[in-house]
Amino acid sequence: MRTRGARLEAVGLLTGWGEGVEALPADARVAAAGRGVIPLARPVLDGDRFRRATRECLLGVVAVEAMLRDAGIDRQAIRGSGTALVFVTAAAYGASNIAWLAAQAGTLHFPYTAPSVLPGEVAIEFGLTGPYVILIGGATATVDGIWQVGRMIAGGQCERALVLTVETFVECEMLWRRARWTLPGPLVETAACALVGPGDTPPAYRATAAAAPLELEVDRRVGRTLACAPLAGCALARAAASRTAVVSGTWRGRTAAVEVAIAQRPVRA
């Protein structure tokens, strides 16, 4: 199936402040009260399959569940080869890498050091067997990812796509603290998932751009979330009932932006 473009259908957002945009403070720096990292707790999920899964893998799973709640659909709606999965992170692999380097983890932990295992767990959990892309980088990579899924949908490679982002900082806080001149805090652990479906307009991509107002609002209200920032922006835009949004992201001195159409939230009784 080919369509003219793509549309953001839903966003699940979990941050160290809580679930959804309703949990966000007016000013993240004030709310952080000097804390460097605002953590997300390890989710508790049923099933023996998750006994070895890392915290970041579980956060990926619950971010998709949050997206399903926002979309008002069940798991079956995204199952199969019609759904593409694009995962983006700057550093969610850091915790598992540090555990492996410090020899704190057993043999079976080694595969979890690969960034591809987090989306792998998500793919297994939700039965996602469509196109599969894993990007490493900050917010610009997520903007690239949103644009990519729009291209995939418009090109008929998939019917819908998930853009999943996870960032964790607690285990690597000592390293981030060294680089605080690069990333002024607070670092807010976040897991977010966007559902992108067919629409009328292709996402308009600008490979180099200036930061959009939404990016500044995310920075102010959420804090530093690296790859998750553009999806937090999508969540804010959707909560504000915007029909389109320019979502930008900045990382290592480069800013990219994408303009996306946004579906309205279903009216809940």
Binding site: S116, R178, Y205
Partner: protein, 382 residues
């Protein structure tokens, strides 16, 4: 999209010509690892580059050094000239700068060292070295990364987001990954034997492979060939083992063929992932057999991992380059280490010596941790 030129740094050669002549000669790039201790590991061999080229000396991270060595080789073969903000870099890696993370944790307290540990740092070092200010993407779909990087690079060009793309893959051989594969008992104690009845596992290697991609009208002068299509798919079955039926790989291959708008009858050669593990080679053979159908026995299939080791993020990029060189020169490199047929692996694996065949259209397949599968369809320059 046109593949204008390529550059490499590998254990069997530090430039494209040495790499290619080594592959054709059946060179063995696997040796005892010297750069870090391995005495506590079951296996201490791998495809280690013993001496980096001068251009890479002084680069802080070995991962970035490998990329820059390959980029210097690429730049010696083609002009990378466009407005800086129209040059993109897209590279794949399984390990990124993880060796620098090790150094940062071991007491090197410099902030820069900590940032070097991020997996996208080597790509940004490469972009800085090239003077590229367009999109910089790092793909990390484990050992399928290089294939997806080439595909995304082509997408950037197709969408007009860049005019030139330097795309490929890299990874370093370091203690982090050696210890992991050693613990998983995935490493061969003796030689790597892809598709052979006696195969017992893989050996790791380090390398970088890059290509310069351009749109047809912008590609001036000689070229290596074209990237016709790419495809990817998730297994959704296991985090560290391939799907038992190879369904994700089959989906990725069919997607790449569809994207390239070519049929199975058009394929002349397959560069397989061919790691030399019992499971991978059997599953990959079955998937290829299903896709190729009644042409399965007629299409040569090789693996170059017996010569280089499994170079992880670099593997798919090097294999794509190998395909295009085979089409250019009319020789398919042998599957080094393949000697005794396995009933479960019953394709034509190019045993012994290189074969005088000039493939025109080629398929390259890749798999990785996390259920990642990717495939490329390439065409030699006419």
């Amino acid at each position: 999209m046109v593949v204008v030129a390529a550059g490499v740094a590998t254990p069997i050669g530090l430039d494209l010509d040495a790499f290619w002549s080594g592959l054709l000669a059946g060179a063995d790039g696997l040796s005892a690892i010297e750069r870090f201790p391995t005495a506590d590991l079951r296996v201490g061999r791998g495809g280690e580059i013993k001496k980096l080229p001068p251009v890479a000396l002084g680069v802080r991270s070995r991962a970035a050094a490998l990329l820059i060595a390959a980029a210097a080789d690429l730049r010696a073969r083609a002009d990378v000239e466009a407005a800086a903000d129209r040059i993109a870099v897209v590279v794949g890696t399984a390990l990124g700068g993880v060796e620098e993370l090790d150094h940062a944790l071991a007491g090197d307290g410099r902030a820069r060292r900590a940032l070097d540990g991020l997996y996208d740092s080597p790509a940004h070092a490469l972009a800085a070295w090239l003077g590229a200010q367009g999109p910089v993407l790092t793909v990390s779909s484990a050992c399928a990364s290089g294939a997806t990087a080439l595909g995304l690079g082509a997408d950037l060009l197709r969408a007009g987001a860049a005019d030139l793309v330097v795309a490929g893959g890299y990874d370093v051989l370091c203690r982090f990954v050696m210890r992991g594969f050693d613990a998983l008992r995935s490493l061969a104690r003796e030689r790597v034997r892809p598709f052979d009845r006696r195969r017992t596992g893989l050996l790791l290697g380090e390398a970088a492979g890059l290509v310069l991609l351009a749109r047809e009208p912008d590609a001036r002068g000689p070229r290596l060939g074209r990237l016709l299509g790419h495809g990817s798919a998730s297994d959704a079955s296991h985090i560290a083992a391939p799907d038992a039926e190879g369904r994700g790989l089959e989906s990725a291959i069919r997607a790449a063929l569809a994207a390239g708008d070519i049929g199975v009858a058009d394929l002349d050669f397959v560069s397989a992932h061919g790691t030399g593990t019992v499971l991978n080679d059997r599953i990959e053979t079955a998937a290829l057999r299903r896709v190729l159908g009644n042409r399965a026995g007629a299409v040569p299939v090789n693996s170059i991992k017996g010569a280089l080791g499994h170079t992880m993020g670099a593997a798919a990029a090097l294999e794509a380059i190998m395909c295009l060189l085979a089409g250019r020169d009319g020789w398919i490199p042998p599957t080094v280490g393949y000697e005794e047929p396995d009933p479960a692996c019953d394709l034509d694996y190019v045993p012994g010596v290189c074969r005088a065949v000039r493939p025109r259209r080629m398929l390259s397949t890749s798999l990785g941790f996390g259920g990642c599968n990717a495939a490329l369809v390439l065409e030699a320059a006419s």
